[in-house]
Amino acid sequence: MTAVPVLSRRSVGCISDLTIDRWLLGESPGSDEARRVEEHVKRCASCASRLGALRGLYSTQVPAARHEPPVPLDAVPALVPGQSGALQFVILRDGLLVGTEFFTPGTYMVGSDPRADLQLDGVLPLHARVYFRDGRVALKAEQGALYVNGFKVDSCEVRAIDEVLVGPYVLRSRVIRERWSDVEPGQRRAPASDAELVEDVVTARVEAPEMTVVDRPSTSSSSAAPTPGVEREAAAEVTPPWRGALPSRVPPLPSVAREAASNSAPTPPPATMSPSRRAPAGRPARATTRLSAELWWGDTRQATQSFVAAVTARDFTTWGFAVPDDFVLGEPEADGAWRVRLPTDTAPRVVRRGEAVECRAGALRLVFRVDPVLDRLPSAPLVSWPLAASTVALLAAFFTTMALAPVPEEERFTPHDFKREVTLLFPAPKPPPAPTPVTPGEPTPSRSAEPQVNQPKRRPSTPPPPKPPDRFATLNAMLKGGAMKSLLDPTKGPSAGRPTAGRGRPELLAGVGMGAGGAKGFEFGIRGDGGAGIGAAGASKAGSMTGGGFGVGPIGGRVVRPVATGIATAPGSLHSIDTDAVAKAIASHLAEVSACYERSLLSNGHSGGRLLLEWTITTAGAVSQAKVKSSTLKDATIASCVLSRLKTWSFPRARGGAVVVSYPFVFRASDF
């Protein structure tokens, strides 16, 4: 028996699939079980092959993903300010929205190159660079030109209100902040100043280009600046590994940030302007003020840049003022003052907060101003969390009030009211039943639309509305009761027009087509009375006729049974005709007869009866004469309608001469 090798697996000490599975899926690393598997597989060929087979089964999987710790969904996100928030770029072209892109904190390239993080057609391959950190955004032109609010810039910070032009595209940035209130106070850090942001982002890479993400996960947020770095290092320590392990996609940038606002008017800057310059080797302590250097050409500001640390001529090009590269233009002093050396001066001056000095050379003007460090830039209201929080609180309060508010009893929806409205569409045919005396205090069965809950006693002058007849109850009663039976009873079949289902609703429902004699099939339809809304749809199937006591049930144009014997030819005639073929011809036109009848039903209501027609069929098969021989129909238009139709029909040719044919059409409209 083949069971033997299977049973032997355990008996010879082989390991089970479960053990192999656990080993393969990493559930038993370092345990005895794992060692046993590894030992056993070495000497057992069968288990080794089994393990190989199972490994092949799992080889396409990604167990590497399992090393990430799970993120509890309801936990407060561990925020590191420098790594929080998301940047959204709304991209427009020719005023039309092209798309939006989201970025997490980091540095990204904009360009048409496939490697670009934000790929745009029609711009240079590596057009510009985007820095996003601390919820703030800075741009730097690389290969292409960058315009912010119409000014060409090399690099600058952009806010939500700024319009950035990159080639043919307009970019609008929007920073989506995470909730700062969730950050523990120890992790909270004031946002960097605008000058610092760009500077930190860029210089961190200049000064520590060898940093890699492997050792220092929070490279982008750590700075080489001595004093401010303390705070930032603390922030880096709390960086969870799964957050901090963002790959640094940024090569070291040999450039400090500078903002060059240039106008198209007189453009004096010589072509020697080099886009890349070196940062100062070391910076003193962070100042509470910043030194803004501005270069003016006439009334046009050509360049402006802010510094929080010592600034040399290398950092800020002074164009027309010839100074050596290591010429120190400004150094921060204590108390927020700056020691500024103008190129035209020999001795430095101390500039305090709010003061400014300038020097001139022809139309060129160099201005140094000492400003307080900006804590925050105005942000768009959409990203303002206090506003969002207060909005949410207001909404919550509103909905809570709504939910807690008592609902008036009258406004509650009841299906009873609904039914009443529907049935009102069908006017009751019978006079309303005598109003049953309502004892005071007794709840009325049908609730009126007016709120009468507070009026336990009805006014005697308003009788209760008649209980509307329930359409479906009528239907059910008919199905159970005599209506159906009478319809199905062949002996009662030909009694056309009998209001079998009076039952109070003759015009509400009309038309059961069935084979009266043969009872081969029946159909029923629902017809609204008097051509009301649903009448036309229902009437297309409603109403039927039977011919000659033999069942014809036109169900969708289908003739159930040919009627041959119903054809009566004139007795004693030598001429003859194929009665079967005549019956077929009649049957093929039954729909027209039905149409005549239904038209009458729609306009005149319930009617039924027997219509005996007599017509002459020529040897050509045409109808030469046609007349009504007898009719019990109330509505004469049916006969005329059928006659007019009949004259257009073609019949089999009569043999020997014209044949007079008579045929009874029985119309019955049952109000099933």
Binding site: P5, V6, S16, L18, L25, S28, P70
Partner: protein, 169 residues
């Protein structure tokens, strides 16, 4: 032991083949096995929190798959016409269990009490040791032994000579 990522997609990617292989081995029907796999993962979704806290997801899935497949088999035994075409080459080739064994085991399982079926599957189909069965079922090793004895008795009683050969280990 490493924590595992708890998104359902990851679970399905990592453990899907395991469940499918196991369902194939028990049901011997590719389509039924795939259905069973999905059903088992629906169960996982329903008990995702429990599943995340499970020390050994493999063990948990073994048990869930086994129970689900036993239910499927039981339903199938009520419709004998499905047994005749239940074998396809895929399922038979996957597990190193022959069609004979599977049919015999199915016949035996049909006759033994329900609470013994699961343990029999582990013991005979999966070739698990007592310790492993105890861990999967969350019972003591002693209970496993007792239940196996019970199963032997019930199987001997229910089946006949043919069955006795299988369980006479």
């Amino acid at each position: 032991m490493d924590e595992f990522v708890a998104t359902p997609e990851d679970l399905y990617r990592v453990y899907g083949p395991l469940v499918l292989r196991r369902a194939r081995a028990m049901l011997a029907d590719e389509h039924a096995a795939r259905d069973a796999t999905h059903d088992v993962f629906v169960k996982v979704l329903g008990a995702l929190a429990d599943f995340r806290n499970e020390a050994s997801p493999v063990t948990w899935l073994y048990r869930a798959t086994t129970n689900h497949c036993l239910n499927v088999l039981r339903a199938r035994l009520r419709r004998p016409e499905e047994l005749t075409h239940a074998q396809d080459e895929h399922g038979a080739a996957e597990a190193d269990v022959s069609v004979d064994e599977r049919l015999t085991l199915a016949a035996v399982l049909e006759r033994v009490p329900e609470h013994l079926r699961e343990i029999a599957v582990y013991y005979y189909l999966d070739q698990m040791s007592h310790e492993e069965i105890a861990r999967v079922m969350g019972v003591s090793r002693r209970t496993v032994g007792n239940r196996l004895v019970e199963f032997h008795a019930a199987a001997r009683l229910a089946a006949g000579e043919v069955t006795r050969k299988v369980v006479s280990s």
